[in-house]
Subunit: 228 residues, 2 copies
């Protein structure tokens, strides 16, 4: 069972961290190139993309502290980035009707247009991901979902609007259908692991205790076939 290498090697989690860190280096470098081509910095581009993803006529405008939380930076740093975006004419600050202390952030037209181009992902990363066989893409998505959930539970990351903790998510509602075993009761349609979302606009988060239940059902995999 145990092999020579078990005592020779770093523990697996440590090597995983190292690997993810290597990916992170490449990702950050790619974001620099991409953002820079549009006169932005990675932080600005991420903030712009976040605003674009979360802007809806019906939803309240994001605030500076939302940006800070989502990018895991301090509020002053987020404030810096927002100031830069405002100076570049990509966003506007407007008073928040709900709270006179707060400032809502809204995209200008120029900002909306730029978010579409600069908010994308480095082409290299997309290419590499696309080169994986589809089943492995699916497996990776599921693993990444787990990691994000773990980070979220430990408070290391802002809550993601993911299927796995959504009110509309019914894991393995169609156990007989291997391709699309889950069900989304928002659009009322079956879907599979390959459709799992990490930032769905329609997501409605469950309270922690209920989320835990749904999550457990999701990670446990399909229920065993019922004996006759």
């Amino acid at each position: 069972m145990t092999a020579v290498f078990d005592s020779l090697s770093d523990p697996l989690p440590r090597r995983l961290a190292a690997g993810l860190s290597r990916l992170s280096v490449a990702l950050r470098a790619g974001q620099w190139r991409l953002a820079e081509a549009h006169g932005l910095t990675p932080t600005q581009a991420q903030a712009l993309a976040l605003l674009a993803a979360r802007s809806g006529a019906a939803r309240p405008a994001l605030r500076v502290s939302d940006i800070a939380e989502h990018l895991a930076i301090t509020r002053p740093t987020a404030s810096d980035a927002v100031t830069a975006l405002e100076r570049k004419g990509l966003i506007r600050r407007q008073p928040d009707p709900r709270d006179a202390r707060a400032t809502g952030l809204v995209l200008t037209e120029a900002g909306t247009a730029l978010a579409r181009e600069a908010g994308d992902w480095p082409a290299t990363l997309l290419d590499v991901a696309a080169d994986l066989p589809p089943p492995e893409q699916e497996a990776l998505l599921r693993l990444v979902t787990k990691l994000i959930r773990g980070l979220q539970l430990r408070g290391a990351i802002a809550p993601a609007r993911m299927c796995a903790t959504c009110r509309f998510f019914r894991p393995y509602a169609h156990p007989a259908d291997a391709a699309t075993p889950h069900h989304c009761s928002f659009v009322d349609a079956p879907f599979g692991d390959r459709h799992l979302r990490l930032d769905c606009a329609e997501q409605d988060p469950l309270p922690d205790d209920e989320a835990e239940v749904v999550w457990t059902r999701f990670v446990s995999g399909p229920p065993a076939a019922t004996p006759p």
Copy 2:
């Protein structure tokens, strides 16, 4: 085969990139906390860790440009970080005997000690990785290996000293042994996916064409059982 969600969703590679980006955000934030606790910045800590990992009495000292390449930053930025580390007494610059233009970077004793503490990974990330069931850790390591290889082939990342492109790597040399199907001819021992390394000190890279052959054998999985 196709479901409603196939047309509703972002393509899977795009969602994967988004997910990896979320992990990257958390990782970078964690690196800030960790490095800061030791009076460093993430870049400085990464440079220090790199020097610690690659320092061997027998090996030539790393140079500034090696740091820049590995961290995917420009040489001036790497030069800045190295200057800061030198000012803090953690490394020394010494003339390179092979090339009078170059500067070799060596850790001081203080630097060696600090690299051990500050060069580690954020505890949160290690915990989250360790919480995955071991088979999933193994699967993730294999997937991350593939992504890194892909980034490397596209020149987006410095060559990693990974098993999968090493002269001593014999993928599926023991096809009958599911737990440790590979073989490392450096230590002359069998090992499995869970032992795959991404930065092995003993790695000896194969030339591109031979690496391609070994890589293909690795990603193809175990050979089909021989018919009787």
